[in-house]
């Protein structure tokens, strides 16, 4: 008898499922992590045993920004290709969240339903990658980008890269690794790969910005210490880079965006050149960073040998994750919520917002819980100055509302920043002050986003996120 159907597994699965129900009933949240913790206590190694049963294996997606969006896009493509995904869609991306979502895919006896059609699609916390890779033996591991994020939690950018290298060196040689050729910190992981590598990149230099942002991190070649030079910078340190010292340079891409169409209030249009031919995609997202997320997702699909038609169909069915980049109408105002939790991410969000037309109503929510990063000094590395002259309404909220307001004051955005630390009161105020028919941009950090979407779900009749497909 296999370990998966052993009595201990059944007990673990039952206990975990009960924990999930209980967690939701008691209003603790979506029950996205607790079941994993319970299962692991009763039957350690359960995730590995369940993952081994996934008929099509699994895909891991990690990186500083874009994990959730990339994974969701892969999920839609996989569905279009006829797979039945097991996907940690709530964004619970530590080992316990992955375990919990594997358990959710089982029946009462602890057996995966329809194992032969199953593909695991897991977004993985940067620091959890070694553990997840060892437990789940992925077919594909994809990396989005590497930026400073929560230095108090992950340590330095260099130590995240070192953790990833360790994970890559331990992968089976059959695993395909998907890398961002335009991010030097990610592209250089290729040295640590034992198996096939697929690179993705943007080649449309019409998207380039004038100069490198303050949020750039990987500026120096780790091999020789020289400062990289760029023929085109897209955002942060992402672009067409090369090292004048040792000649290392952006590798040739296998999957390439030859045209990126960004127009205000229009979907993101991408022309991709891939080994499976030319693909034209249109996605309800904004910002060049989402072009990279789409490239990462398409590269994963290529690695899984998904046919071009399924990629096209899957991408066409894509909707953004609730709260990450969500548009909804609340009380006659279009509320556009965009998660941003580090300098590179927020810069991209601001760039996308400032490309839209008309005066902007803006609410920034800054929390300093562990999941946000306790240190809020990162806001001083964000180029809020690009909003100068564009704001009609400027509000700061969250536990560090005053810090945010002070940063906004320094950016001279015309409107004087208002402060309302309480999330609900701030959202109420922002809605009241946004003229009917206009758009309100809400940019929260992670834990603030959880509060915001709970409120918006109530006011705008959206289902709670754990009930979302």
């Amino acid at each position: 008898m296999s370990a998966v159907s052993g009595p201990r597994t059944a007990v673990a699965v039952t206990a975990a499922k009960a924990a999930a129900v209980l967690s939701r009933r008691l209003g603790f949240g979506g029950g996205t992590a607790l079941p994993g913790l319970v299962a692991d206590a009763v039957a350690p190694g359960l995730a590995a045993r369940l993952a081994a049963r996934l008929g099509h294996g699994c895909v891991l997606i990690t990186g500083t920004n874009g994990k959730t969006t990339t994974a969701r896009l892969v999920r839609n493509i996989a569905q279009a290709a006829g797979y039945r995904p097991v996907h940690n869609h709530s964004g619970s991306n530590l080992m316990r969240g992955i375990t919990a979502c594997l358990i959710e895919a089982t029946d009462a006896r602890g057996q995966l339903r329809q194992p032969e059609r199953r593909l695991g699609i897991f977004e993985v916390d940067e620091a959890t990658l070694p553990e997840a890779a060892a437990a789940l033996s992925p077919r594909v591991v994809a990396f989005t980008n590497l930026f400073r994020d929560q230095l108090d939690r992950y340590g330095e950018v260099d130590s995240v890269a070192a953790v990833w290298r360790r994970a890559l060196a331990a992968l089976p040689p059959a695993t395909t690794v998907v890398l961002n050729a335009d991010d030097p910190g990610v592209a250089s992981l290729a040295d640590a790969c034992r198996g096939p590598v697929l690179f993705y990149a943007v080649s449309d230099t019409a998207c380039a910005v004038e100069e490198i942002e303050h949020a750039a991190d990987a500026r120096w070649c780790p091999a020789c210490g020289c400062e990289y030079t760029y023929s085109a910078v897209f955002y942060g340190h992402v672009g067409h880079w090369s090292c004048p010292g040792c000649g290392r340079a952006r590798p040739a891409a296998d999957i390439e965006a030859t045209r990126v169409g960004q127009r205000p209030d229009a979907p993101l249009r991408l022309s991709l050149s891939t080994p499976s031919g030319q693909l034209d995609l249109s996605l309800p997202l904004m910002g060049l960073y989402n072009a990279y997320n789409a490239l990462a997702a398409v590269s994963v699909a290529v690695a899984l040998a998904v046919p071009a038609e399924a990629i096209q169909t899957g991408a066409a069915s894509f909707t953004a994750a609730f709260g990450r980049q969500e548009r909804m109408v609340v009380r006659g105002r279009e509320v556009h919520t965009i998660l941003a939790k580090n300098p590179a991410g927020l810069n991209q969000v601001l760039r996308a917002i400032s490309a839209e037309e008309g005066p902007k109503n803006l609410l920034f929510l800054l929390n300093d819980d562990i999941a946000d990063g306790r240190d809020v000094s990162w806001i001083w590395d964000v180029d809020f100055e690009m909003l100068a002259g564009q704001a009609a309404l400027l509000l700061a909220s969250g536990r560090r509302a005053a810090d945010m307001a002070l940063r906004l004051k320094y950016a001279d955005i015309d409107a004087y920043p208002g402060i309302e630390p309480d999330t609900e009161a701030a959202l109420e105020m922002a809605l009241a002050l946004t003229p009917e028919g206009e758009r309100l941009y809400v940019s929260p950090t992670y834990t603030a986003m959880l509060q915001v979407r709970k409120l918006l779900a109530r006011w705008g009749q959206r289902p709670p996120f754990w009930e979302e497909a």
Binding site: W220, D375, W380, A402, D403, L406, Y410
Partner: protein, 252 residues
């Protein structure tokens, strides 16, 4: 006559880990609002520092890898000029990694000891990879009031007899988590600290203290016009409240 000050920002690309740029934005703005032009020169690896040309010098923090390269460059191209500048009254602010490198030496958890510039009679020792890192909100007592910030350092800094602490810890760790000292001061014009966050925007009193010193040296007795610091003071007060509140009572 136009009032102008000149600031040397040392290694803005290499030493910019925790929003250190906010300190420059703050000094520039607080000068500008009083009709003072602040000219900022960015000095990187290999650039020499002309001690007589500057009124203020700033250096921020960095990752270990960058810190090593900066340590070597400081000794090679800037140490002598830094000593001369500080002796002549140029105002110096060094934050986190920059503060460590301006001490006598830094002994990392692994690898060779880094020789420091020796502006501060202080040394820093990293007690090893398993030792607790000092991370969190900090409040310190300074000149009858408080300074607030965030600290994140593995190294413990100890002061020698000729250095004075910048401030006394109220909440947080400070130099070494033991003796209650935070930062270091040499003479009246050189300041080292572990506080970022960014430091100066939320601590306008310290920012003005630096500006006044720099102005006095060049223009004689000066009085700085008061500014509207309502937001600054609110952010400061909130930071004090968050840092001193017991963790158990934190509202989630």
């Amino acid at each position: 006559m136009e009032t102008a000050l000149r600031l040397a920002h040392l290694y803005p690309k290499l030493m910019n880990l925790y929003g250190d740029r906010g300190n420059i934005l703050c000094l520039r703005r607080r000068c500008q609002q009083r009709g003072i032009t602040l000219v900022v020169d960015e000095l990187e690896l290999g650039d020499s520092l002309e001690p007589a040309a500057y009124d203020l010098i700033f250096i921020g923090g960095a990752q270990d890898r960058e810190q090593r390269r900066v340590a070597a460059d400081l000794l090679e191209t800037k140490a002598e000029a830094l000593h001369q500048a500080v002796a002549e009254g140029v105002v110096l602010l060094a934050v986190c990694g920059g503060y460590q490198l301006l001490g006598r030496y830094y002994r990392p958890a692994a690898g060779e000891e880094l020789a420091g510039v020796g502006i501060f009679d202080a040394w820093t020792v990293h007690p090893g990879p398993t030792a607790r890192r000092f991370i969190g909100n900090v409040v310190v007592r300074w000149q009858g009031g408080t300074l607030v910030g965030f600290e994140n350092h593995g190294g413990r800094t100890y002061l020698g007899p000729s250095a004075r602490p910048l401030a006394r810890v109220i909440a947080g760790f400070g130099n070494n988590g033991r003796d209650g000292s935070e930062g270091a001061v040499r003479g009246e014009n050189a300041f080292g600290t572990y506080l970022h966050g960014s430091l100066l925007p939320k601590n306008p009193r310290l920012a003005d203290h630096l500006i006044v010193q720099a102005l006095r040296r060049r223009y004689g007795e000066v009085e700085l016009a008061a500014l509207d610091d309502a937001l600054e003071e609110r952010a400061h007060a909130e930071a004090v409240r968050l840092a001193t509140k017991k963790a158990i009572f934190r509202k989630r």
